[in-house]
Amino acid sequence: ESCGHIRLSVPIVRLGDPVMASCTISPNCSKLDQEPQILWRLEDGPNQPGDRQQRLPDGTQESIITLPRVNLTKTFVFCLVPWGNSFQVLDQAELQAGYPPASPSNLSCLMYLTTNRLVCQWEPGPETHLPTNFTLKSFRSRADCQYQEDSILDCVPEDRQNTCSIARKHLFLYQNMVIWVQAENALGISESPKLCLEPMDVVKLEPPELQALDGSRDLVPRQPGCLWLSWKPWEPGRFMQQECELRYQPQLRGANWTLVSHLPSSEDQFKLCGLHRAPVYSLQIRCIRSPLPGLWSSWSPALQLRPT
């Protein structure tokens, strides 16, 4: 028979909130003298008496203590009795303290055509000091996310990651879906704002590879101050109609980029003229799904060329 037993008013409490604890010693706890003084110890603090100790009708001794402000995220609470010239620990309870989760923010998602996965990430918000589970929730929807159709499997991130990826088989690429993050711990639940998106509208597009046409093979007429370029769309995204823009800049201090917009996503021979002959030029290209909605790809790695 265990002599002492600690009960906490609540095992997990908000940091700074009070908590009440009671320790009861059953009368038939043979080894103890009749009405032992029940003592308390927090972590490795001093032994201290409770706020009050009373004898219950059934002979049980009960001591009550109130901790006005819990300020440790984890506190071991001991219940002890004097024993000869030392003390005996009768029970121990673990008091946890932290904060309810704040709403996760900055939820954003990208569809990766190479892995066929929709990857979302978010900011978890301030530390809660408590085990907090994040779940990426979503459901399919029609007509810009007004109605909920069948919900999609919850996506549970790997340990302590603030990112989750939904596999292709759970996705309808050309249908709207509502997606948000839920955070939950012992002190509460919170949700991020909801996103309404169509996976194909958030494809992570890679830029084409910009190549200089080999001027020497007189494939292209040599014209002073001109450059001949070619590019092909990034293979996995080739099926998407895209529009591209090219930027170029002479490698001179303080030079600005010049932009050429509304270019096709594939070009075998593109002549760029009006360039000064001397300096080397840096050229980059990027594309975006168009006319359907999409995200700009990053700029391609810079091509360094000297005009003819």
Binding site: R168, L171, Y174, Q175, M200, R238, M240, Q241, L292
Partner: protein
């Protein structure tokens, strides 16, 4: 004729191109992995296995009756979705390509169905999958794969023309 939203047509064209890309990868893999590179040499086997083909007769530009064309397009996609499912287990190497293709075809069928619903021309009951061929050997499943994907390629070419015609009448 029925007002088909431009975004629906553009999305459908993109889905056709996406499926065509996946489909030709599957055809290449079947050829490279199993040396089954000539669908025309499998016509006889196709008859005995009962590999179905879907028609898009109502989508040819002359006789284009839009509702019937959409319905044929959905019916064909639904058929090929079932056929690709029947090919599951063809081989571990091809499984990723086959799974992605089957999901793309299913998604495209849904896009068409939802548009028919929006236009109020969708049948009240979703179609149910007819009997699919059964394959009793690995070879039959691979040959069935070659035939199904080559039929699907022709089906998609016709669909692409029809949709192109609708986008720029």
């Amino acid at each position: 004729p029925l007002p088909l939203p431009r975004s629906f047509l553009l999305k459908s064209l993109e889905q056709v191109r996406k499926i065509q890309a996946g489909n030709s990868v599957l055809l290449e893999q079947l050829c490279a992995t199993y040396k089954l590179c000539h669908p025309e040499e499998l016509v006889l086997l196709g008859h005995s296995l009962g590999i179905p083909q879907a028609s898009l007769s109502r989508c040819s530009s002359q006789a284009q009756q839009l509702t019937k064309c959409l319905s044929q397009l959905h019916g064909g996609l639904f058929l090929y979705q079932g056929l690709l499912q029947a090919l599951a287990g063809i081989s571990p190497e091809l499984a990723p390509t086959l799974d992605a293709l089957q999901l793309d075809v299913a998604n495209f069928a849904t896009t068409i169905w939802q548009q028919m619903e929006s236009l109020g021309v969708a049948p009240t009951v979703q179609p149910t999958q007819g009997a699919m061929p059964t394959f009793t050997s690995a070879f039959q499943r691979r040959a069935g794969g070659v035939l199904a994907t080559s039929h699907l390629q022709r089906f998609l070419e016709t669909a692409h023309c029809a949709l192109k015609h609708l986008v720029q009448p």
